[in-house]
């Protein structure tokens, strides 16, 4: 969200480094974990810069209310929600217009990737809670949601990965943090299917020339691919296939 006001501190120093020391095309540090909740069918936790988000998937399960069911495929729901304490100025609990919009476009991003035809007449619910926000929450949320869906055993054509790019002090930059988003000139969150490079979520706000726009798009896509590598690594390392008897021998 662009406030448009001026920042007291420059967003880029004389060496071209950002306020957190990053280069223009550098991602913030990201940590991911899967299977973090007991009750959910699938879950994931993502820390991305100062963002902390947790995603849970319930399903496939019975559709309620019944009139929403589809006899040919599962119904996917997505609820993005911010905890009141996730932002500096307390956010009133409950869905606000921004959360509703984010929920809609995030669901749309997943709908063509999740193989809903496997489960006619059921519902797959995705819930993401933002516990701490530092710009790029919808990207962190969708990234966590994809992991949670995988963890739940939901069949998908790919692991959706998201990332944002933007513009600060006239320069296109990857993965804006809060101050950069507030005082920068543009923000562009995207989500892709890394296997096919198709774009599933795409927004932009700010002021960009055509060249800056396309540069940011490609930068964000590359960022999303890096995020995808970490998603795959997280999933594969959780269930490292080893030999139990060898393990035993090593410990002896």
């Amino acid at each position: 969200m662009n406030m448009g006001g001026k920042s007291d501190i420059p967003l880029l120093d004389k060496n071209g480094k950002r306020i957190d020391g990053r280069d223009l095309e550098e991602l913030r540090p990201v940590k991911m974990e899967v299977g973090v909740l007991k009750k959910a069918d699938g879950s994931a936790y993502v820390e991305w810069g100062g963002n902390k988000v947790i995603a849970a998937v319930y399903g496939p399960r019975e559709v309620l209310p019944k009139h929403l069911s589809n006899p040919y495929k599962a119904v996917l729901t997505y609820r993005y929600n911010m905890a009141p304490f996730s932002v500096d100025d307390r956010k009133r609990p409950g869905p606000d217009r921004r959360s509703i919009e984010i929920s809609k476009i995030s669901r749309e991003a997943l709908e063509s990737i999740v193989m809903l035809e496997y489960f006619p007449n059921t519902m797959i619910d995705v819930f993401v809670e933002v516990l701490q926000a530092d710009a790029g929450t919808r990207c962190a949320a969708l990234t966590a949601a994809a992991l949670a869906l995988a963890d739940a055993g939901i069949p998908m054509r790919d692991l959706v990965a998201a990332c944002a790019a933007g513009k600060i002090e006239g320069k296109v930059a990857l993965d804006l943090k809060k101050e950069e988003d507030n005082y920068g000139e543009a923000d562009m969150p995207i989500a892709i299917s890394p296997r096919t490079n198709s774009i599933l979520l795409f927004q932009m706000d700010g002021l960009m020339t055509r060249e800056e726009f396309m540069k940011a798009l490609h930068l964000a896509m590359e960022g999303a691919k890096k995020i995808n590598e970490l998603q795959k690594k997280t999933l594969k390392e959780k269930y490292k296939v080893i030999n139990l008897s060898e393990e035993g021998e090593k410990n002896e």
């Binding site: 662009n2 217009r97 774009i199 932009m204 055509r210």
Partner: protein
């Protein structure tokens, strides 16, 4: 939508796809042609500003209301913009009464972004007392007839209405509505151009059948001085970076076409 309608829409959707694969459209337009556009500023005269726009059969009435209030805490020296959209039931068999649906919310927010991010309104000129009192510009979109592409029609209506808005007088802590102090200060003219992806075809200004059949849509907001100020992909399908590149070019071209129409219609 009930089951019968769904079957009907599936058949129409297949028809639209078939046409699109042959480079054709349901109403014989070219891929990047707009439907006939009618713009009438000052459609209602009671409000501070208004405009009616017809894009083919899609009809949107934008009304501007002005009031005095507190600025946002992080922008104490700027006026406030608020955009709302109502998909009222009379506009379509698919619109139901009740609180705004996610479609209404998305529409309002995307139109809002086009106007806000382009800094179309000079908000600094709307300050009465810094940090305390500023003018608040309420943009309300009333959808009267839904036949596809609410984004472009609504933005056209909104910006036309804003161009014809008169700021009331503010005296002795009161808003005096029948007297004007100034024209609403407008710096840029943003427009939105929406494209639907149907199979491999990209079509500008989707009519309702095309919107329903589309795999995805992309709305691009451009300014008169060569900037993109907002973009929104919608729908459950996917688009490619190449699609976006094609669309950006057309967005500027058709954006200028729309701005031309706005200038001609100025009240």
């Amino acid at each position: 939508m009930n089951r019968e309608n769904e079957t009907l829409w599936t058949l129409k959707s297949e028809y639209v796809h078939r046409l699109a694969s042959q480079g054709l459209r349901v109403d014989n337009r070219g891929a990047f042609d707009y439907r006939e556009i009618y713009i009438e500023p000052n459609y209602v005269t009671r409000s501070a500003g208004s405009a009616l726009v017809k894009l083919g059969n899609t009809t949107v009435l934008a009304g501007i209301s002005m009031d005095v209030g507190q600025p946002f805490p992080d922008t104490p020296n700027e006026g406030v913009i608020m955009t709302g959209a109502e998909l009222v039931p009379l506009a379509s068999p698919t619109f139901e009464p009740g609180p705004p649906s996610e479609d209404a919310i998305e529409l309002a927010r995307v139109v809002d972004r086009g106007i806000r991010e382009s800094k179309a309104i000079d908000l600094e000129k709307l300050v009465i007392e810094e940090g305390e009192k500023v003018w608040m510009v309420f943009i309300d979109l009333h959808i009267l007839d839904y036949d596809g592409n609410l984004f472009d029609a609504s933005t056209l209506a909104a910006i036309t209405a804003l161009l014809n808005t008169k700021v009331p007088k503010y005296e002795d802590d009161k808003v005096i509505r029948n007297e004007t102090s100034m024209d609403l200060p407008i710096r840029r003219i943003p427009v939105e151009t929406t494209f639907a992806k149907i199979g491999n075809a990209i079509l500008l200004d989707p009519v309702l059948e095309e919107e329903m059949a589309a795999d995805a849509r992309l709305t691009i907001a451009t300014t008169d001085d060569g900037y993109i100020c907002a973009a929104q992909k919608g729908g459950s399908g996917a688009i490619t970076a190449e699609d976006i590149e094609t669309i950006i070019d057309k967005a500027f071209e058709k954006g200028d076409y729309l701005r031309d129409l706005i200038n001609k219609a100025k009240g």
